[in-house]
């Protein structure tokens, strides 16, 4: 009975819809706007002061200008990175001293005194503890600087201007202009960037934004870039210019990532994700002076600690795995050594080596632990003295010591350049992969998003290695 009545009402609405035609939406919108303007007329009085608006317009004219827009963007990125690199050094080495040099031996002694068997002691303190401590020492300081700076820019209202500047480029690549916003989020964390793509209405453009988000160099990869650039790129120029050279190299990699993001967006729209570019309104909000301390505080709590916690959660089991594969033997060789040797040939083709490839497999859960894994595996394979023992993940205090180990492991400038490239172009971390799956609900697109960057990485490093070997 009831359903019958409802069906009748539905039928009635269908009939009436025919009578009204498609003007309903427009008429309704017009009605609403007419009401709104009448209400405002009665309740709002405006002063003659337009100066604030003028200041905003003036700033916008400069930061979104055709000539200055992009240089200003690069300049701001440069300043943020420079502050991060320079500022993070001191707290990083301080944390390393406390957590690695002071606490680690204490814990190991404690374990021994408590009568823990050597394997459990090693597993817990050389594996799990060191991995966690290293992630804190290396990640916390740059994040505690990078995230607040980024948040301040965000609060000020700069991000929509970035989107505005890049809109034409996105349009040309067939993607959505709001992808600029999700891309910027990706520079902090790719998983966050993937979630942020919800602001894109069209499913096609949203997929493109999700798949290409990994080309934004995320927070876990900045330290790798900075370290390698400092050791290898900074060393090829005179000392006075070395920090400028390494900074430019890092910015270069980030910009290259943006280039790949555009390239793959374009390639996807030309192949599997064909379609029209949808239009959208982007409001350029007024500039607002950020509430400085509050912003710094909340970004520390919200972003820094959450990302750090995630890194720790993943670093702990990864540290355990590293320790295990270095201490479990098949015949005469540890699992780690055996894998490194069998990957060496393929690694050579890519201008990398087996150690790097294995490190990237072990570090799928968190990009942050790539460098310590590489160092540990290098020491183990080459048998050079240094570090703390078999399967102990560590970070050397001085950059020169790190450089010595890597060079003893056969690293050249080519290896460093290619590791930097591969760090940009490889699979997303497991959290991001899981997030992609949750957002797309599709195994197929998750696989595409995970595999595509690795293939790009293989191709690029292979080409660079071949060209390099011919000409250098």
């Amino acid at each position: 009975m009831k359903t019958k009545k409802i069906d009748e009402i539905i039928a009635l609405s269908k009939e009436l819809r025919w009578q009204i035609g498609d003007e309903l939406h427009d008429n309704l919108a017009e009605g609403i706007y007419a009401d709104a303007s009448k209400i405002v007329e009665g309740a709002v009085t405006k002063g003659n002061n337009k100066s604030k608006f003028r200041i905003d317009a003036k700033i916008d004219k400069i930061v979104t200008s055709r000539i200055w827009g992009f240089p200003i963007m690069l300049f701001i990125l440069g300043v943020v990175l420079w502050l991060t690199i320079i500022g993070a050094n001191y707290p990083s080495s301080m944390l390393a001293e406390i957590l690695l040099d002071t606490f680690h031996p204490v814990l190991k002694n404690l374990g021994a005194n408590m009568g823990l068997p050597w394997w459990l002691n090693g597993f817990l303190f050389d594996g799990v503890y060191l991995a966690v401590a290293w992630v804190i020492a290396v990640m916390l300081p740059p994040m505690a600087i990078f995230f607040p700076l980024f948040t301040l820019l965000e609060d000020f209202g700069y991000l929509p201007r970035v989107a505005f500047n890049m809109d034409t480029l996105f349009k040309k690549s067939g993607a959505h202009g709001k992808q600029a916003l999700t891309m910027s989020m990706g520079f902090g964390c790719n998983a966050a960037g993937v979630v942020a793509t919800r602001i894109i209405d069209s499913p096609r453009e949203r997929l493109i934004a999700i798949i290409t988000n990994n080309f934004s160099l995320c927070n876990g990869r900045w330290p790798t870039q900075i370290l390698l650039a400092t050791i290898f790129i900074g060393a090829v120029v005179p000392q006075t210019y070395s920090s400028i050279a390494s900074l430019s190299a890092v910015i270069g990699i980030a910009v290259l990532g943006i280039f790949f993001m555009f390239f793959f967006s374009w390639a996807l729209t030309k192949t599997v994700l064909k379609g029209e570019v949808s239009t959208f309104n982007l409001e350029l909000p007024p500039y607002r002076p950020p509430v400085f301390w509050k912003t710094v505080y909340t970004s520390l709590i919200d972003r820094t600690l959450i990302v750090l916690w995630r890194a720790i959660v993943f670093a702990a089991p990864a540290g355990a795995v590293i320790w295990l594969i270095s201490n479990l033997y098949i015949g005469n060789e540890s699992i780690a050594a055996w894998t490194v040797h069998s990957l060496d040939g393929f690694g050579f083709l890519l201008g990398l080596n087996g150690v790097v490839l294995l490190a990237y497999i072990v570090a799928i859960p968190a990009n942050e632990i790539v460098i310590p894994t590489i160092l540990m595996l290098t020491v183990m394979v080459t048998g050079i003295p240094g570090g703390e023992g078999v399967g102990v993940m560590f970070e050397l205090d001085s950059i020169t010591a790190t450089a010595d180990i890597l060079k003893a492991g056969g690293w050249t400038l080519l290896t460093a350049v290619n590791v930097m490239l591969f760090s940009l172009l490889h699979n997303p971390c497991s959290t991001t992969i899981y997030t992609i799956y949750k957002e797309t609900n599709s195994v197929k697109w998750t696989v595409v998003a995970s595999i595509l960057p690795v293939i790009a990485g293989f191709i690029i490093t292979f080409l660079v290695a071949q060209v390099w070997r011919i000409f250098m």
């Binding site: 009831k2 359903t3 009545k5 409802i6 009402i9 539905i10 009635l12 609405s13 009436l16 819809r17 009578q19 009204i20 003007e23 309903l24 939406h25 008429n27 309704l28 017009e30 009605g31 609403i32 706007y33 007419a34 009401d35 709104a36 209400i39 405002v40 009665g42 309740a43 709002v44 009085t45 405006k46 002063g47 003659n48 002061n49 604030k52 965000e154 609060d155 209202g157 991000l159 929509p160 709001k178 916003l181 979630v195 919800r198 602001i199 309104n281 982007l282 409001e283 909000p285 007024p286 500039y287 607002r288 509430v291 301390w293 509050k294 505080y297 909340t298 970004s299 709590i301 972003r303």
Partner: protein
């Protein structure tokens, strides 16, 4: 970090600050559900944080909140669950964030809907306000970013505005906590039926459409006497909103 200088209202006996407890994410055993809606970039998340004591990420760009955030607070022994909806300009189109907001206001049946608007851009913001007032009977207008409006020498007569919209209007500057106590008090009065709303209904609609809306609306009211937003449902049916039609069939819309 934040100076907790007491505003006149906080110090006033009627507000009863001791009765306020920020509960963060503890959203169990709640008495009322409060939805937080508004245009993008009007400071919804800042209002949300001020009420719940949470630190939902805030940022100056439109579209920052993409998923529903939930938090809670307790005021005068009653527990309020806050739901921070994605910012939208309208409830008439189909993107995912707009659907989240629209469905929650319609199907989530919040006790009170707090509509956050940018005081210096009131006219544009009213578009969404008037649409929400078609859906719900209990709403409060949170006239946010008053500090910015004052700097731009925009003056708003909140009493006239409240009268025209038929809902209470509370001016706030959520970033500096101004007006939040008044907002909490107003929400509580609405939730406990101490204030009655007479929400503004869209007037300037062409006659033929108005007639069609009336016709469906009357039929709906006859069928479901308890329904409060028959006009909005009628409008959506005329737009051919399949979700609404589906919800009518399942009875979800009146449940």
């Amino acid at each position: 970090m934040e100076k907790n200088t007491k505003t006149a209202c906080e110090a006033c006996a009627h507000f009863n600050p001791e009765g306020l407890k920020k509960l963060g994410i503890k959203t169990d055993k709640i008495d009322f559900v409060i939805a937080l809606a508004g245009n993008p970039n009007t400071g919804k998340s800042t209002v949300f944080n001020a009420l719940t004591g949470l630190r939902q990420h805030t940022g100056n760009w439109p579209g920052k909140t993409v998923r529903r955030a939930e938090g809670a607070y307790e005021y005068n022994q009653q527990k309020y669950k806050m739901v921070d909806l994605p910012g939208t300009y309208s409830l008439l189109s189909t993107s995912e964030d707009e659907e989240v907001a629209r469905n929650f206001i319609l199907f989530g049946k919040p006790t009170v809907t707090v509509i956050v608007v940018d005081a210096s851009r009131l006219e544009r913001n009213l578009n969404l306000v008037l649409q929400i007032l078609e859906i719900t009977n209990k709403a409060v207008l949170c006239l946010n970013l008053m500090d910015e409006a004052e700097r731009n020498e925009i003056k708003i007569d909140t009493r006239i505005l409240a009268k025209d919209l038929g809902i209470p209007v509370v001016p706030t500057s959520a970033r500096s906590q101004k007006g939040i106590p008044e907002l909490i008090k107003t929400i509580s009065e609405l939730a406990n039926n101490k204030i009655q709303c007479k929400p503004h209904k869209i007037k300037n609609i062409p006659k033929n459409i108005e007639k069609a809306v009336q016709e469906i609306s009357t039929a709906l009211k006859k069928e479901f006497p308890t329904i409060t937003n028959s006009r909005w449902i009628a409008i959506r049916m005329l737009e051919g909103d399949t979700q609404i039609i589906e919800a009518l069939k399942t009875g979800e819309i009146v449940a």
